[in-house]
Amino acid sequence: MIQRLFIVLCVLFSVSAKAELTIEITQGIASSIPISVVPFKINGSADFKDTVDEIVRNDLERSGHFAVLSPRDMLSHPSSEADLYFRDWRLLKQDYVVLGNIDMSANGQFQVRYQLFDVFNERELLTQTLRGTMSQVRDISHRIGDAIYEQLTGIRGAFATKIAYVTTNPQRTRFNLSIADSDGAREQVILSSKYSIFSPAWAPDGKRIAYVMLEDSGSRVYVQDLASGKKELISSNKGLNSAPAFSPDGNKLALTLSKDGNPEIYVVDLNTRKFERITNHYGIDTEPNWMPDGKHLIFTSGRSGKPQIYRKNLESGYLERLTYEGHYNARARLAQDGRFLVLVHQAVKGGDFHIASLDLTRGLLQILSSDTYLDESPSVSPNGVMVMYAAKHKNRSILAAVSVDGDVKFLVPSKSGDVREPAWGPYQN
């Protein structure tokens, strides 16, 4: 695992027009777990812009599941088990304490060893040592956050993941497709264009991104390799070329084409470039997304008169309507192995657009976002816990996030311009 840390995506086309995302937590869960991440002791000289423990604290805080104690409110800053007095932490009503040490080595590398303790039972729950270069401080920190999160919630962490999104200036004359860490740090512009870019979609291996570029002659679908920065034209048929979605094996792309006269779902094999038509209806069919089994596609269709979500079995051809509640349901994404749909929902004609989740086994629809408006483009974290989406807030397009259960909310405002079309990347290890 440590070796994998050395593989860091590094694509840098342009450093201009950065959005500089920050995170403002607006709602966490009531029964959040009290935890203290004590500042890690650094042995040797090092210049950390953001310290490892600080990044870990921010990750845990942002998840909404933890009440993270500020280092200022701690009675002491122990760095080893010998200096750890559980009674002090019980006094501070802390359930868990994290201690850590950082050893700097001469070749620009550093090593972090940390321990997670259960204060009540006075025992160590987890210990881990990670090593990397100074450019990997954030990777290593997010990895620690993920391990602690998983140990205490039972759910795999997704802090060490990337998000892709599109930024644009207010005049809408410049569009940048960027990728950043899940906390908005280390933004990199991977494509800059005078044409509108939308619907970024990650390949399951996290090494390629498909997207739509709306040129003067119409929409085109491209796939860009992140390591080389090379973009490849996948579809430029007559009419629409849009809404790409990688199959779970990464070999195919589902997309929307209107070359046969009407927006329909197609699947293109990325190796043979053969297109296969999936839907056939005079209504609009678009926004395909794969079920994890690779044998079903969900998509938006206007065949009932208003957009609703449907599921098609690619083997049997069986078609099923999934959404009935609400005036407008579109752009569904799956969460938690397909148990939940997360979608754009307008309850009544003329009403607000919000992000909603639909429990497919129980048929329950829950509106998740309420303090933003014109919500769109939901994208689910790979652990199925959080949904990032685009919304209007104070007359600007910003990113926001909400947990699939609706309990945790945060905003991701940018310092300038509009941010749209978030796409949460897969696990990187």
């Binding site: 004359t173 619907s199 003067d216 629409l240 927006p263 926004e287 957009p307 752009r331 657009f353």
Partner: protein, 180 residues
């Protein structure tokens, strides 16, 4: 934009192909793109000044081109709708007559949406808005080869606001003449 000098041009019975450049009535967003294209075209035109082509415009064509309805090149739609509203049929009929009488004329029909709803559904809806106008014109006798449709979804709004009056102006199909 393109109505300036439209009548004057016919008064002198000369139709220069150069007016294609001012046919774009797009919003603020695509002006940059249009400007770039024009400057490229302009830089290509310097050189041998070959004899310009002269079109003789018939009385009938001139009368038709003077129809003020031809100056109206945008039709608007209801939210999530793509059917032609009755009040725009006269405008479309005027364009249909013109296109039938001028088979060399070429039009790009640009479908647009307001910002509400999803980006992709709006892209598809924009195409429907362009296509219903296209079908309407074809039913009126226009040769389909004169017409091209393209959707810009919600990406090139005519108005930037987030209110009903801006949205109403953004749900539209623009009739853009590439050649008259």
């Amino acid at each position: 934009m393109q109505n300036l000098g439209w009548n004057k041009l016919f008064a002198v019975s000369l139709l220069s192909l150069a007016i294609a450049g001012c046919a774009s009535s797009g919003g603020t967003t695509d002006e940059a793109a249009t400007t770039t294209n024009n400057s490229v075209e302009e830089s290509q035109t310097q050189g041998v000044p070959g004899s310009p082509e002269v079109d003789v415009v018939t009385e009938e064509q001139a009368a038709m081109a003077a129809n003020p309805l031809l100056d109206q090149t945008v039709v608007y739609f209801g939210f999530d709708r793509s059917e032609i509203r009755p009040e725009f049929k006269d405008i479309l009929n005027a364009h249909a007559e013109y296109l039938v009488a001028n088979p060399q004329a070429r039009v790009v029909l640009e479908g647009h949406c307001d910002e509400r709803g999803t980006v992709e559904y709006n892209l598809a809806l924009g195409e429907r808005r362009a296509d219903t106008v296209k079908r309407y014109l074809v039913v009126q006798g226009v040769n389909p080869s004169q017409l091209e449709s393209v959707s810009f979804g919600e990406e090139r709004p005519a108005m930037m606001g987030s209110d009903e009056s801006s949205w109403a102006k953004n749900r539209r199909t623009e009739i853009n003449y590439q050649a008259r």
